[in-house]
Each structure stands twice: as structure tokens, then as C-alpha cells.
């Protein structure tokens, strides 16, 4: 533990800006993953243990699209759309068969999917890591704000993620579909009694969740190495965010993702080598004091 360094960091604007941006970028990408996870849980009461796979596949699809078209925008779009479709397929073909059964049965199905797709990625893209490389448009020097470093690429990523967060929350509160989704999260029987086609609704929710995870994977493509099994650590962090924020709450996911991001950003200065442990302590504390999470409804 190094409280001196942490204290010194908090008193210098440069350090605060730099670490806060790095916390934001980690947090925002995490939010995209966790938002889908929490949405799916909210509506279907299913914990999607295969969510990391969407993230991984999104990254790989984007990689291939980028290699083929040389356009980052197209690559990101391809990653997101492909994963939205994959989400629907996953829901229809597999998950719909285990609705209402033991949560462990659902876990088993998801785990099988994780195993299968880790190997499919190995077969299609090879076991080696892949790197997309930075698109030419972003190969520019970083900005300096108050002496802190803010890379333009990350600023754009944060912007995109924030935009999506806004669209998502507006969509949920203003549109008919969004209202149905929220109603379904509170009372599924009521929604089907009102004549909403839950089959379609569930598929849509999985499409949104999968699309968001795929988008996160694609957005991260230029800076993170792609490798089979990379969805795993993201899944765990996504879980932590979902639980801290409250299962089913999009706003909670946003707040929790930012908390995790900032704990990482500043924890690396104050508690080098133990940032992971720090995050688990936060999670345990929240679960003990407020099991439903920051924004969750009590079960």
C-alpha cells in the first residue's frame, strides 16, 4: 500500500486527469458489457454466463471486417450487428430450452457455449493472439488537459459509450419497446397477459445485450489483444459491475462500472498489485450491506 503516492496523485491535477480518463475508459467499456448482462437478467431473470463470449466474438468479427474493409467504423458495426444476431440465435436455439429450470442448468448451457466458441475461435482465427492495430485516423498525439494525458481515441470511445448509455436509457424510458422491457422486468406475467409476445421480446433483449457486448469487443479491438478465452476476465468484471449496481438496473451498471474503473485507475497508484482484491472487497461490502446492489430492487 502506498498512500503517499495516492495522496500525491490526488493533489496534482495532471495525475487526477490522467488516472480518471484511464478509469473512465476501463469503466465505459465495462458498462457496455454489463448493461447487456443486467438487461438480460432484468427481463429474463437469467444470468448469462456466456456474455464474455459475445465480447470475444465481437472483437474477432470486427478484426476480420477491419482486415477486409480497412474501415474501423464498418468493423465496429459488423462486430455489434453480428453479435446482436448471434444473441438472438443463442436465445432461440439454446437458452429458451432452459427457461424456468435450475439456474445451474442455465450455467451449464452457457459454460458449454463458452467452451465451444473458445475452440471455434481457435479453429477459425488460430490460437495466437491477434491485434487489429490502430486505425490511421487515430494515430495522432494525445491531448493534454491540465497536464494530464487524454488520448483522442479513448475520448472517442468514451463518447460513443456515453452516447449509447443515453440512447439506452432514453429508449427504455420513452419508447414503447423500452416501456415493455421495463414492465417485463418488474412483472413478466403481466406483460404476457397484456398480449405482448414474450418470445419476440426475449429475443430482442438478447439481441440488444449481445449487440452491446459485441460492440465493446469491437471498440476495444485496436488496443487490446484478441485471443481465445479473452471473454472470461471481462465476464467476471461484468458480473461485479452488475452485482454492485443492482441486477437489472442500467443506471446501476453505469455507476458501478465507473466505480470499478476509477478504483482501477487510482488503485494502481495506491495499492499496486492488489487492485483486483480491492474490487472484490468493494463487491463483498456492497453485498453484505445492501444485497440488492446500489440501484437494485430488493428481491
Amino acid at each position: 500500500m502506498d498512500f503517499n503516492a495516492l495522496g500525491a496523485c490526488f493533489t496534482t491535477p495532471a495525475c487526477v486527469v490522467t488516472q480518471a480518463t484511464s478509469g473512465l475508459i476501463v469503466g465505459m467499456l465495462l458498462f457496455l458489457v454489463a448493461a447487456g448482462l443486467t438487461l438480460i437478467f432484468g427481463v429474463l431473470k437469467i444470468v448469462n454466463f456466456a456474455h464474455g463470449t459475445f465480447y470475444m466474438l465481437g472483437g474477432y468479427v470486427a478484426y476480420s471486417a477491419y482486415v477486409a474493409t480497412d474501415s474501423y467504423a464498418l468493423a465496429v458495426l459488423a462486430g455489434a450487428v453480428a453479435m446482436a444476431l448471434f444473441g438472438v440465435l443463442f436465445e432461440r436455439v439454446l437458452m429458451s430450452r432452459v427457461y424456468g429450470s435450475n439456474v445451474l442448468m442455465q450455467l451449464l448451457v452457457c459454460y458449454a457455449v463458452v467452451l465451444i466458441f473458445d475452440d471455434i475461435v481457435k479453429i477459425v482465427w488460430g490460437p495466437e493472439f491477434r491485434a487489429m492495430g490502430m486505425p490511421a485516423a487515430f494515430q495522432v498525439p494525445p491531448l493534454f488537459i491540465a497536464g494530464g494525458v487524454v488520448p483522442p481515441f479513448y475520448a472517442v470511445l468514451i463518447g460513443i459509450a456515453a452516447l449509447i448509455a443515453i440512447v439506452l436509457s432514453l429508449g427504455l424510458s420513452r419508447t414503447r419497446l423500452g416501456k415493455t422491457v421495463r414492465a417485463a422486468a418488474v412483472n413478466p406475467q403481466m406483460v404476457s397477459a397484456l398480449g405482448v409476445n414474450t418470445t419476440v421480446l426475449f429475443a430482442i433483449v438478447f439481441a440488444i445485450g449481445g449487440g452491446l457486448a459485441g460492440l465493446a469487443g469491437a471498440l476495444a479491438g485496436p488496443v487490446r489483444s484478441l485471443s481465445p478465452g479473452m471473454g472470461f476476465s471481462i465476464l467476471i468484471e461484468g458480473f461485479i459491475v452488475t452485482v454492485i449496481g443492482g441486477m437489472g438496473s442500467i443506471a446501476g451498471a453505469m455507476v458501478a462500472a465507473l466505480i470499478i474503473g476509477l478504483v482501477r485507475g487510482f488503485g494502481t497508484i495506491g495499492f499496486p498489485g492488489f487492485t483486483d482484491g480491492l474490487i472484490y472487497i468493494v463487491m463483498i461490502g456492497i453485498l453484505v450491506l445492501r444485497p440488492q446492489g446500489l440501484f437494485g430492487r430488493p428481491l
Binding site: 444470468v47 439454446l94 430450452r97 432452459v98 429450470s101 439456474v103 445451474l104 442448468m105 450455467l107 451449464l108 448451457v109 459454460y111 458449454a112 457455449v113 463458452v114 467452451l115 465451444i116 473458445d118 475452440d119 471455434i120 481457435k122 479453429i123 467476471i236 458480473f239 461485479i240 452485482v243 441486477m247 498489485g273 492488489f274 483486483d276 482484491g277 472484490y280 472487497i281 463487491m283 463483498i284 453485498l287 453484505v288 444485497p291 440488492q292 428481491l299
Partner: protein, 317 residues
Amino acid sequence: MKRNPALRDALFAAIVLILLLAIPMLHRSPAFEDFIIRLSAMALFATSLNLLVGTTGMVSFGHGMFYGFAAYAFGLTMQLTELSLPVAALFAVALTTIAALVVGAICVRLSTDYFAFITLAVQMLFFSVIVSWQSLTGGDQGLRGGIPRRRIFGFDLGSQLHLYQFCAIVAVLGLLALRHVSMSPFGNTLRMIRDNAERASFVGIVLWRARLLAFTIAGGFAGIGGVLAALFVSGAYPELADWPNSGQAIFAVMLGGINSFLGPVLGAMILLALNDLVQRFTEYHGLVLGIVILAFALGLRRGVLDFIHLVWSKRAR
């Protein structure tokens, strides 16, 4: 007249044990012996988890922490002290049981999904402590230098045969003890809680106390498995306490059947054998394992032994 079921279980255990001990006398096969050694650790691990999952209806995602905890406690005791092996093993298991009591006291008050998550979180915290506390645990690479195998009563656990015999005896006795727990009035109490917690509390059962006791017992027995695992690899590694390992136990329980006492043992057997076998033919063992798991989950919709029971009882009727 019905025979005494307790006696019947003991008899069954004795026969299995005698068979296991007889096999190496007739034919030495290191591969078979390795398999049984690993199975003994895994079977105790999975069956103890099932005391929570199947019997009590508490889904723990963090059971591996006790498996790993015991492995480290045992390995460190052996490396740092001159205690003899059985004493060190008992000490490690006792320590693990206490750890389970403490963790349980935090966790058991939470309901279903949240219980699963908090156990996961506590396990991950424990895992990162192991990895960070390099001076004690050796960090990522585990306890270096091996676990000394001091001889006990002419028993030398460095010898594969003796290790095999030791593991077989410990596993069979451990499973018998777990069977006893599951058939005791307390076992019945746990089933009541699983079936109908509200009603259980209305017949005078203090839910959290029963759950905590179950959690502690399960942790202790997972610890016995952890000690065997540490002996097999002659060390302790963070992976023993990591969540994929907890996942393995859950899959063993699910594959074998949560409502049959021997289900998790069968599940562990299937999982180990599948892993070994598939690895031999393809490096894409995840693909094969995944497809097999899917077939189980979507085809049988329950563990193998549970499925057999179901078919059996349908036929009987």
C-alpha cells in the same frame, strides 16, 4: 424385515474400499492409480458441494476456496513445521473448517442468487490474496519446492502405491461420513430447507444456523479433498482456489445428479475421464466437452444418476 440402512452403507463402502485396495495387488497400473487419486480429491470436493447445492438448495460459486485453502494450509504446515503428515492434514482441515465458518457467517444470510455471487466474490478475494502474498504463498507459481513426504507408520506418500492407498481410504471414509451427515436428522433438516424454507422455519428450524452448519461441514470436507489434491501435485497452486475449479465441482454435481448421493462422484468420474480422453485425441477438447455438456443439459435435463432413477421409478410404476 428391512435391514439397517446405516449398516448397508458401511458394507457397501467396505466392499468398494476392499476392491480399490485389491486392484494394485493384482495388477499395477499407474494410470488407473493416478485416476483414482485425482478422483478421490474431486469426489470429496464435489460431494461436499452437493451437500449445499443438492441437499440444501444453496448454490455456492466459491466452493473452490476451501479446496485451495486446505491445500495451502497443508502444504505450508508441512513445509514450515516438522509436524507429521496426518497431524498436518488434520490441522489443515480444521483450519479450513474454521475458515468456512467465518466465510459462511458472512454469506449464508443472503438469498439464492446473491448467495452465489457473494461466495464467488469471497473466493476471488481469497484468490487474489494468494496471488499477491508472494512471500508466503509463492504467488502465481504456487508453493515451490514440493511438499515433504515424511514417512508415517511405514507409509511413504512419495510412493505412488502408498499415496493411492491413502487417498482411497480417506475418500471412502470421507464419503461415508458425508453420507451419514446427509442421512442424519440434520440432513433431513437441510432437505426441509431446500423444499420449503418458510415451512421449515415454522417447525422451529433456525434457517441461518442450519445453513451455516451445512456450509461449514461442506467446507471442511472440501478441505479434505484439497489436502489430497495437494498431495497429488506435491504443492499448492492458486488455480485450486480459482473459480474454474469451483465450476468443475458444479459441473461434476450437475452431470452426475444433484438428487443422488453418489451423483457427484459419478459426475467427477465422467468429467475427469472425459478431460483425459478427449485431450488425447484433439486439442479442441473444449469443443468436445462443450457439446457433451450441451447434450446432457438439453437432452437429459438432469444428471445421469437422477435420470436413471427417474427411468427406474417410471418403470416400477
